[in-house]
Structures are given as C-alpha cells and as structure tokens.
Symmetry: C2
Subunit: 555 residues, 2 copies
C-alpha cells in the first residue's frame, strides 16, 4: 500500500470524545430523561412501534457503570452515499467494544444492507481497524443502497444475525436508513430475538437534522471541501476579472450544502431550492435576478463573479416541474415510438409544440436547445425525463446570457459575459474527515456501543452541543420513533423521519438573506482554503457556519 | 473584509528564506561564477543581446554587503495566468527593499504588462502588503496577457519608468514573459536608461524548467490541490465501486501537471501528451489501452477506476492534428457559408465525408457525434476549429465505451461501464500557496531585490536546491540569455526560453512507466488529502514527487 504523508499522520490522530465518555468504560453511567413522543402522528406511530415507542431519552454521565456484563457480538453496516467520517464511527464502535471486553466481536457487513441479507461480512481486528482510522471513504466495508424495509428482509436479517450470534446491529445511514433501523428494531423486539438495533446519523446533504440531531456527519467535511475549491475559484475570478463561474454543488432535495458554502465563501449569487419553491419563482425570474448582479457588477466590480447552484434546483421551480410532468405524459407508452420516428429535431420540435400546454411550451421555448434536446432524447428505462442529468449550472448561465443579450439590445447593459462551469460533489464525499467529523463520528460510534451495552434498541446514537468544544459535547441516545411522522410515500402512508429542508425563517437562511444583496454587487468573497487538520484551533476545529448560526453563536 | 480563519492564520506565517539570506541585508555578499553561454544558437543570441549576453552566474553568500548605496524605486508586474505564491514574490521583494532603505519605493503596475504601458500603478505600503501575505491569487494588482515585445512598447515602458523614477522593473511570469524580460533588459541597457530588469519564474504548468530553474512557482500548490480532489474521487470510486472517473487537468502544452498528479495519486490511467506524440499514438490505440484496464479491472477489482487526461492531449495525437488541419482547410473562406447553408447535420456529414481525405474521415467517423458537431459548429473568429473547447475527458470515455461495446459483443468483456467526468484547473491557480510555494516565492522576491541592489539586469531570480529544506536552498541569479535558443514562432526566428516538455527519459516519467501497468489493474490509489500548512514537516513542507525524482531523492 502506498500511503500519503497525511494518511500516515492521520493514523496518529486521537479523536476527541465528549468529556463524559473520557473516563473509561467503567465510569460511564446512564441518566434517564423523560419518556418521548413522536414529533407528530403519535397514535399512528405508537401503533406501528408497540415495542419501541415512547422510550426515554437518555444521556451518559460520569459514574459507575451499571450495565449487565455480557459478551457482545455486533454487526455494523454503512448505508447509502459516502460521507467523511464513516470509518471513524466504526473505529469508535470497535474501540468501545474492545475496551469493554476483549472477547467482544465486531463484524462489518459488506456493501451496505446487502451484506446483512447475504450474510457477507468481515471480522475486525486491530490491524484491520488501524488502517482506516481518521480516513475518508466507505471502502472499509463498502456501502449500498438496498432498502431494508420488508418483513421478508427482516426475517433474513434476523436469521443471519442469529446464525452469527449477533447481539446488536449498528446502521450508519441517512434519514431513510435510520427509519429502517427503527423498523428493524421493532421487528427484532416483536420477535423476541434479543437483537438490539442502533442508528447513526450520516449524510453530507445535511438534511437529517432536527431538534435531537444537530448535524449529520460528513456535512462539515464535504462543505469545507466544496468551500475550499469555490473560494479558490472566487480568488481566481477576482484575479482574472473576466469570467462568471457557475458552480453546481451536490444536494438534490435540500439546499443546505449550497447555503453553507455560500455562508463560507460569500459568492455573488446562491440559489436556494426551498426559497424558489416557496416563492414559486420562474426560470425567468431567477435568470433575471442573476442578470441584475452581472449588470450591476459590470458597472462597478467588473465582468466577473461566482454563482452557486444547488444540484436539485430545477425540481424546485414549479413551472419546470409542470413541464416535466407534461413531457412524461406526452411521451407515455407508444407515443415515444411515434416521437422517435420523426426525421429530425425540427419535426420533433413541432410535435412538442403541439403536445404541450401553451404555458409549458412557453417555458420549454425559453430553454437553451441543449436542454430541450436532453429533455426529449435522454430518458430513463420508464421513458421519463432524467431531471438529474440536466446540467443546471449550464442552463442558468444560458438563460442569463439570453437575458443579458436583451438588455444589451435595449442599451441598459454594456458589459461582457463569459461563463465557466463546475460541479462539485464526488470531491467531498470521501475527503479525510475534518477534526470535527473525525471527533463527532468516533464519538457516535463509541456512544453507540454504550447504548448497546446498556441494552437500548431503536435508539439513535446522539451527540449534541456540537458547536462547543468536544469536551462539552453531550453523549446519549434518543428513540428513533421520537423523530418520526407519517408521510405519503409511493401512495402509502409510512412512518418516516422527516427530511430537514432549509427553513426560510431559520437563522442560516436569514443571515444569507440579510447579506446577499450586498454580496451580489460587491466583491465580498471569502477564501476558506483547504481543510486544516493541524494548527490553531480556530483553523482546524471549527464546524459549520450553519450550526453556529442555528445555535446563536454567530449573528 | 471577511477573512477566513485560515487567511488570518496565514498572515502570521513567516516564510522561510534560504540560509544565506537570513542574516540581514548587510550580511549578503555576491559570489560571481563563470561567464555564461546560451544553451544553443550562441552566436545569434549574442548578436541579439550585445549588452546583456554572456554575464556571469552569481550566488549570494554570507558576507559584508558591498553594493553601492542608492535609493531604489522598483516597479513590479504579474504576467499571464495566476499561480499560487505570486503575492509572496511581491511581499518578499517589498520586505528586502524596505529592509535595505526605508526610502525605497515599490510600485505595483496593474493588470500585467498593460500597467507598464498605461502607467497605471499603486504604491505599496505596509498595510497594503500585509493584507496579501501568504495568500493565493493575483488580485493584489491583477495580471494580464499582453506581450511586451516590440520596440514601440519598450519605448513607452522606458518613458513611463523614467517619469516615475524607476530604477528597476521586476517581471513575474512564465517562459514568454521572461523572454520578454530579457529583451526589455537589453533595450534598457542599449538605451542607457539605467533601468534594471529582473524576471521571476512562474507557472503552474511546470514547463518553465531547465538546468537553472528547478521549478516554476505555483506548480507545487496547483498539483497538490488537484491531487487532493483526485485522491478524494479515487476514494469515492473505491467506496462506491460503480464509476469510472475521467479527470481532465489543466496543462495545454505540457503534461507535467497530469504526471505529477499521477505520481501523487496512482490512478489506473494517466495519459501523457509527450508520449502520445512520440509514439504517434492514434485515438483508437489510446482508447484501447484504457479499455484494457477497464476490462482487466472488471474481472478483479470491479467496475470502477480513475483516468487522468491532460487538457491538451488531443493536440498531441498526430492523426487528430491532421484532421483539424483538414477541417480548417475544408471550411476556409467562402466554404463556411456553403457549409452553413446545408439544411441539417446529415447533409453536413456528407459534405464533410466528401471533403476529407479517407484517412482523416476514418478518424472523424470514430469520434462521438457531440465532438463531430463541435468541430464543425463552434469555430473561432478566423473560422478555425477551437481545439481547446473539446472536452477530451468526454471524448475518451466515449471512445472507450465504443471499444468496450465491441468487446462485449465479441464476448471478451463482461463488465459494466459508467463514466463520470471532471475538469480541474481554476481550482488550483489561486489556492493559498503551500509552505513550499510561500517560502520559494518569498525567497524569489527577496532575492530579486538583492540582484537589483547589486546592479544586475537581464537576470532571473534563481533559488535552487529546492528538494532540500529551505535552510539549504541556494539563492542567486542567472542571466536569462543563458536559457535561450532560437525558435520558429509565427514564421520568424525568435530568441526564446525553451519550453520544458515532459522528458520520456526523465526520472518522473520513468517512474510512472515502471509502475503504471500495475496501477492499471490493481487499486493502488494514494489519497494525498488537502494541502496542510501546519503539522508535521513531512506533511506540510514537502514539494513535488516530480522534483524528488529529478533530484534522485526518490527511486
């Protein structure tokens, strides 16, 4: 193996635990809090989780360990997309498990939930674990996107778990995976398997967040990585003074990532999907808003700037969603063949014009040709438009160019507009976790084992007070059912953890809103630079501006 | 201004000077070496530079300063593309100038050579300079791409310089800019202006390098930034195990950047333009080589991998260059109108088929349609194909896909191939300079003033022994004419600094060549992580593998 100097150095890093977990396993006791209720739909959730509903919130404290001694065999999986720190959840879990009893065993099930279904696992030992301490990626055991949600799947998991003598399963995943963890916990309890299930909150998207979970892990490192390169691009724009950079960042359903990057880098423009939806903004309105910034800056700062575009933005534009629905309808069934048989784009264009409502055709006509063609030519196996393929950064720069051309013709705009495009996503999911994520994840894993040791199931490993130094963090557990409500999914009412979107009356958005008009015109760029793992604590230990604002630590 | 924590911390960083420059200005003396000769075409270069040719190489030593006391008024420009560390050349220059005599003055001419022509400048003082210490970007005074090369321009520069009382001009730039610095120095000497000219070697491309210049500044930071994100993508690929990532990196004329990134990250594939040209490789050969890696990995590691593609690669493929030349010919003059008048792509395709030689049409037919169309539809103001617009990362992934489809049909390949694309360039040009670049640049600037103080002109600020700790670096100066030879440029023989391409018998390429067959099949990824400015010296002070290999420090 060829290890980089940083990887070698990071092996030596000792993640910081919450103060209350620093005294050794024998000095950790439980303080029980109140019984919990789900955030909504209490009766329905209670009925669905008779064995795991309403349990008490707990925190750990310094004090004599009162758990019952028992040999534990734990299985862990990584579920869904990569997030920096996943390896540290596993190393923290391993360290607590082995510190409690050398005979305890940790299995890593490979490739996500599939590993549990196929009983495909590895047995961790010190050498194995040590090779992954404080590193990025999910390559330690891989991950997968299979959803664990049916009774049949649960039965297989239970059978494999019994075969291996498992006493507990830890699921490291996002909102869906933790919802599934709760359901699996209920199944295990209802069937008296004795197998506990604990969840850990992961996602770079930042949309697994609520009054109990201050932050999902990975969000800090991913947004710092994107902010690094966005800041570098800002500095380049401000040096060359000749390009507008349109930067798309990952995040399909929520704009937390874009917002955090904007708070860190202060670009001229940042679109927020939730705002676009709430204000029912049209493509023209958005393009016009960006063009206003370009025009004003052309007169003062110069013909350059930076705009951040969240990956999922077009799905938040109401008129665009209507257009997509109409296109899917227009090409349903045999109509695809008819469409495909048309000899050229001009003929296809007429077909489209005839088939769409006037409103939707007006939206369609506004789009640059490469997007028009993409909407019709590249479709998924069900014949539906692949919205995720739309290069929204190029779409908006094209719409802005059209708008500026009009303004130029009208004599109001006299600048030059040249755009460059970027997409940042994969770059941030597997970075070496920041000190914050390394500490937070290690604590989540360590804490998950404490929950197991004390016999809890259906709990989420909870570490809070995260905007403060790790010493002051609070470790404990929260019944996952507390975070659940009923939502309509695929035509059925399902108990799920509510996805956290950007709140337009929340402090992070309010801060952005208060400053963005100035940022749109001035060059107020901030250059965060690369993630630092060493050096002054102000540089290497601080988490996101989103959390600082939410906690009132930044005004 | 909104300063990031890292920017504040970097203000406090004290760049490391070469040992011999650490004793204070009064303790720096000159040691003259031998008279120099240009690397080739000595008679011609000598005739063109009668006043500045053949001067002695010099190094600085600890000893009594023997320079003649004189008030200095120095003008500095940044020329060409941004490179991390440019600000530090200026801060080093400023510090040496002020340490010598508080009355000395440093002007920064704005927007590159244009600033000298338009006499547009700022006067630096402590507060101004302090805001840019150890930061990325060229935003301190901007840069520009105007070439200073005509007698008329030189006369204007001389007049403006006299008006401002300049005693010296420092040009921070790449090979062309330093060639121009030499010509300007000769002009100033020939006309007895008394104005000295000193050059500093800048470019992230790494192609300003020779027996005197071990490295151009910015190459270290830029390649570390690209290697960070490439490494992150590798880790993501190795975690998800379902994508091949095609990563294009900046560098149009030389492949040093791609090669250094490959040495740092050990991807499965890295193309080197110089090799493609030397071996006269065809597009099919290249695609086939990549497909071999995909096929072999599908059987062992899995359906994922990473390939690095240098930005300028297609221009190195002989058959592609011929095709481009034929297309430019085919559409010369009025033929463009004829072509544009054709009703659709099918008709245009027939026109192309009829107009190209059979060999070139075969190459054309191989290209994916989006590249075919790009070649014909997007042309520069002279009607020529815009080769730089070709998305070579997408071109090669498409060619590889075609090749794999054939192999699948033939039954030899059974894997899945899904490609993702990235381009990294702007991200790296304005990063906070690494400690190496911060130290090197500060030393270049400090040293440039020592050359000025001792009355040298037509010299390049030279700092060498760079693979060793800064304490052991050697500071001095080299007549720029020593690096020059005659080359054909735009139909004329011109004296220029030879551009350094990747040498196929050089140690960096040899190392790559010795390992790449293994890397193509195995997952030997190395994850460098983000640039560190603090922490263990092994993590934060080491420069490139390219230099280590060139100096024999790595085998």
């Amino acid at each position: 193996m060829n290890l980089s100097p940083l990887q070698k150095a990071r092996y030596e890093y000792a993640p910081k635990l919450p103060g209350m977990l620093r005294n050794g396993i024998s000095e950790i006791c439980v303080k029980e809090g109140n019984e919990t209720q789900s955030v909504a739909d209490q009766d329905k959730i209670k009925a669905l989780f008779p064995n795991t509903y309403g349990k008490k919130e707990i925190t750990f404290e310094k004090g004599q360990n009162t758990s019952t001694a028992k040999k534990h065999v734990v299985g862990v999986i990584l579920s869904g997309g990569q997030a920096p720190g996943g390896h540290n959840v596993i190393t923290g879990l391993y360290d607590a498990l082995k510190a409690t009893n050398k005979e305890n065993v940790l299995y890593g099930f490979k490739g996500g939930p599939d590993g549990l279904l196929k009983n495909d696992y590895v047995t961790f030992d010190d050498a194995f674990i040590d090779a992954y301490r404080n590193t990025g990626g999910f390559d330690i055991i891989g991950s997968g996107r299979t959803k664990l949600e049916t009774k049949e799947q649960f039965a297989i998991v239970a059978e494999n778990a019994k075969k291996n003598g498992l006493t507990a399963i830890v699921i490291i995943g996002g909102d869906d995976s933790n919802t599934n963890a709760a359901t699996l916990a209920e199944y295990m309890a209802a069937n008296n398997t004795g197998i506990q299930v604990i969840g850990c909150p992961k996602t770079i998207d930042g949309d697994l967040k609520n009054e109990d979970i201050e932050a999902s892990f990975g969000f800090d490192t991913a947004t710092k990585t994107y902010s690094e390169v966005i800041g570098n691009i800002e500095r380049d724009a401000n040096s060359a003074k000749k390009y507008w950079h349109f930067v798309k960042v990952m995040g399909r359903s929520a704009s937390h990532v874009a917002l955090e990057c904007a708070l860190e880098t202060q670009p001229n423009i940042c679109l927020i999907g939730e705002e676009v939806k709430a204000k029912k903004m049209s493509l023209s309105q958005i393009a016009s808003q960006i063009a206003d910034s370009v025009e004003k800056r052309a007169e003062s700062a110069g013909n350059f700037g930076v705009a951040i575009i969240p990956e999922g933005i077009v799905e938040f534009v109401p008129e665009f969603s209507v257009l997509i629905a109409e296109i899917n309808e227009l090409l349903a069934g045999k109509k695809t063949e008819e469409f495909n048989a048309l000899p050229n784009w001009a003929a296809k264009y007429e077909f489209i014009k005839a088939g769409l409502t006037a409103e939707s055709f007006a939206v369609f006509a506004l789009l640059p040709e490469f997007v028009q063609q993409q909407l019709f030519l590249e479709r998924d196996p069900h014949g539906n438009v692949q919205v995720s393929l739309i290069e929204s950064e190029k779409l908006f720069s094209a719409l802005v160019k059209d708008e500026l051309d009009k303004r130029k013709a009208a004599g109001t705009y006299k600048g030059k507009f040249a755009a460059l495009h970027h997409f940042f996503g994969y770059e941030g999911r597997c970075a070496f976790p920041s000190n914050f994520d390394a500490d937070y994840c290690y604590s989540l894993g360590y804490n998950a084992f404490m929950l197991i040791q004390y016999g809890y199931t259906g709990y989420l490993s909870k570490v809070s007070n995260l905007a403060k130094p790790a010493e002051e963090w609070v470790a404990g557990g929260m019944p996952i059912t507390k975070m659940m409500n009923m939502e309509r999914r695929n035509g059925e009412d399902k108990p799920v953890i509510r996805k956290a979107l950007v709140e337009l009356d929340g402090a992070p958005f309010k801060y952005f809103e208060a400053h963005r008009d100035a940022w749109a015109v001035e060059t107020a760029f901030t250059y965060p630079g690369a993630i630092q793992y060493y050096g002054p604590s102000s540089v290497c230990d601080i988490t996101t501006k989103t959390l600082a604002l939410e906690k009132g630590l930044l005004k």
